[in-house]
């Protein structure tokens, strides 16, 4: 419970400090929060007691702790990346609120991952979503930001309504909301299949799987960049974690059913995500669709149903955090410095900002899965786990999609390094925090691939479908 308590305390401390600071000193809140959060991240790695609390509503063990730590690292990078943006005039007055909302959604994700029953799961899910909509609509004068906010809010409310309806039927048919009891008595009557599919649709919304993904690109485009990267990396990662836990632990009695479901959705998601990514001009939209395609790949690990499957999913999410945050970090740095977010604006970037371009190239190569960058290993493990479960055709389709994705990832590289531009984005220097964040991403992109023990570490904690 340490993660949750510490983070709640942290959010409250930020709130109180903000109240105490005089208007002129508000900027101090940024370093304070970031340092506190860094400490919190480090504290997360201390050994923790596994066990259950609140009558098994809350459960924690090394696996949950690791998932939370992975999210922490990602959030830390995002906090560092948002410093420049927060210093802007229009955001000055609501810095503390930004932090508090971000942290409370993270608390929601913690509870969601550690949930032992569907009530805590639902509550965590909503805590991770509802305040986020306020952040998506954070930019006042931007109509796009408001549009993103309302689209996120209404469509997520619809999806969680459908999810809840499914859950109510699960409760009605099994008599409990606790995972253990549901797992013991869930079977495959039509109503329970319906309930499961409604539940799955709600989860698919959060991970933006096709056909429940339509909100993604619009919301990503309209939100402030840091919020977009938070949504696409942290929210999606947390939702993938809890989805795999619930599928493996709670719905193991209908494994053959959800495997077929995931099979269909995986193919749709990879293909449609790719097809849309091909035609995007806005970098945020582009990354949105590419992240949809990436989510399709995650399903390959889930469908494996084995210990290796879970390991590969966790590993992939970890890699994905670094690659996507690397890409978003560059987008955010450029957006903050110049306000430009289109791919055309990136033409000739290499000549003016070589370091940013190189990081972008690395991140994009990682997303495309080109060795020796970490992304390759992430994809490789996913493919391996799906192949070892016998899903050869699925792996084949995934491989084809990986080739298609290569094409559009190269478009970005091409824009930065090769395209000519009369007036490329001028050379600029980012501040300290952004640089630290970008360096962290770069290191992560290489270190994860070459640090062999990491895979074993995750593998030792992972679980397969319960029997």
């Amino acid at each position: 419970m340490r993660h949750e308590l510490l983070l709640t305390a942290l959010a409250l401390v930020v709130l109180i400090i903000d109240l105490m600071l005089k208007p002129g000193q508000k900027n101090a809140i940024i370093p304070i929060t970031i340092i506190l959060f860094a400490l919190h991240t480090i504290a997360g790695f201390l050994p923790a007691q596994p066990g259950e609390l609140f009558g098994s509503m809350y459960r924690t063990d090394a696996l949950h702790v690791m998932m939370k730590n992975i999210l922490n690292v990602g959030v830390l990078i995002i906090l560092l990346q948002s410093v420049t943006w927060l210093h802007k005039d229009e955001n000055r007055e609501k810095m503390a609120e930004y932090f508090i909302i971000l942290l409370s959604t993270l608390i929601g994700m913690y509870f969601m991952i550690s949930s032992g029953d569907f009530l805590m799961f639902y509550l965590g899910l909503e805590l991770a979503t509802v305040p986020m909509t306020a952040l998506a609509a954070y930019r006042h004068h931007e109509t796009k930001s408001a549009e993103a906010g309302i689209k996120l809010l209404l469509s997520s409310a619809l999806s969680s309504g459908i999810l809840l309806f499914g859950l109510s039927l699960v409760y009605g048919s099994t008599g409990s909301i606790y995972y253990n009891d549901v797992a013991a008595s869930f079977s495959q009557t039509p109503m329970q299949v319906l309930a499961f599919i409604f539940f799955f649709a709600g989860m698919a919304f959060k991970i933006s799987l096709v056909p429940f993904h339509l909100w993604t690109a619009d919301v990503y485009e309209g939100s402030p960049v840091n919020v977009t990267s938070y949504l696409s990396v942290i929210s999606k990662g947390a939702a993938s974690f809890i989805l795999i836990i619930i599928l493996y632990i709670v719905f193991h009695s209908i494994t053959f059913l959800w495997k077929d479901l995931v099979y269909i959705i995986a193919i749709l998601t990879m293909t449609i995500g790719n097809l849309f990514a091909l035609r995007q001009k806005n970098m945020k939209r582009f990354l949105a669709f590419s992240s949809i395609a990436q989510a399709g790949f995650i399903l390959l690990g889930i469908i494996a149903g084995s210990k290796t499957g879970m390991t590969s999913v966790i590993y992939f999410v970890l890699v994905y955090i670094f690659s996507n945050l690397g890409a978003f970090g560059v987008v955010s740095a450029i957006s903050n410095a110049t306000g430009k977010e289109n791919m055309d604006d990136y033409d000739g970037l290499y000549h003016t900002n070589p370091k940013l371009s190189l990081l972008m190239m690395l991140s994009v190569f990682s997303l495309a899965g080109i060795p020796p960058v970490a992304g390759f290993f992430g994809k490789f493990f996913l493919f391996t786990s799906a192949a070892s479960a016998g899903y050869y055709w699925l792996v084949f389709i995934a491989v084809l999609n990986a080739t298609i994705s290569l094409y559009y990832y190269l478009l970005v590289v091409k824009a930065m390094f090769i395209n000519k531009n009369e007036a490329p984005i001028a050379s600029f220097k980012s501040d300290m925090a952004t640089r630290i964040a970008l360096i962290m991403c770069t290191l992560g992109l290489f270190a994860i691939g070459f640090w062999g023990q990491l895979y074993e570490l995750i593998n030792n904690l992972s679980i397969g479908i319960l029997n």
Binding site: T8, A11, L53, F54, G55, S56, M57, Y58, E90, E93, K94, E97, Y98, I100, I101, S104, T105, I107, G108, F111, L119, M120, L123, G124, E126, L127, V130, P131, T133, A134, L135, A137, Y138, H140, H141, G149, L169, G172, S173, G175, Y178, T189, P190, M191, Q192, V193, L194
Partner: protein
């Protein structure tokens, strides 16, 4: 018999006003119909002897949310304003989708045999509810109760930063 009459009445109220809520062309009226739906639902809770829940329903839902909605309607629309109708294609498709969903759901629910739990019922007086609310044991709900307070706080802060008007520049033409 009384029960049945009461139930039929409440059910009809709920269904009729639900339909009216989503079809009425005057937004303010729709909000009032929603209020009726919510109150009738509270009636059902009363009937099921969940008085605490019914009270929550009345105060939070009917008293809080609907008031908020009406307030925002007054802010953003003229009372006489009629809501635009959606194109027929969209209406037909939506009817089909929700109709198919409803049919499918009713069918599967109808086919399912619900088995009541053999264990004896516990009462649901306000005392029991209170005990469960602060219990940290199995079937105790202290944790969600605490967490929901974080959610409400965060949502409140969120609502404030979104709706708050900034003191500065070019928003002066707005009349709130």
């Amino acid at each position: 018999m009384n029960n049945q009459v009461m139930f039929v009445f409440l059910a009809l109220m709920i269904l009729v006003f639900s339909v009216l809520t989503v079809t009425s062309r005057k937004i303010l009226r729709a909000a009032v119909y929603l209020l009726f739906v919510l109150v009738s639902t509270a009636g059902i809770y009363f009937q099921l002897e969940y008085t605490f829940l019914a009270a929550v329903q009345l105060t939070v839902y009917a008293g809080g949310i609907v008031v908020l909605i009406i307030f925002s309607i007054l802010l953003t629309s003229h009372i006489s304003e009629k809501a635009a109708v959606s194109e027929w294609k969209q209406s037909v498709l939506s009817t089909l989708a929700s109709g198919a969903g409803a049919l499918l759901t009713l069918l599967t629910i109808y086919k399912f045999t619900f088995v009541p739990s053999p264990e004896p019922a516990s009462t649901s007086t306000v005392t029991d509810v209170g005990t469960a609310l602060i219990s940290t044991e199995h079937n105790g709900f202290a944790l969600p109760f605490e967490v929901v307070s974080i959610l409400l706080l965060a949502a409140m802060i969120g609502a404030i930063i979104v709706a708050r008007r900034e003191k500065d520049k070019n928003m002066n033409s707005e009349n709130k």
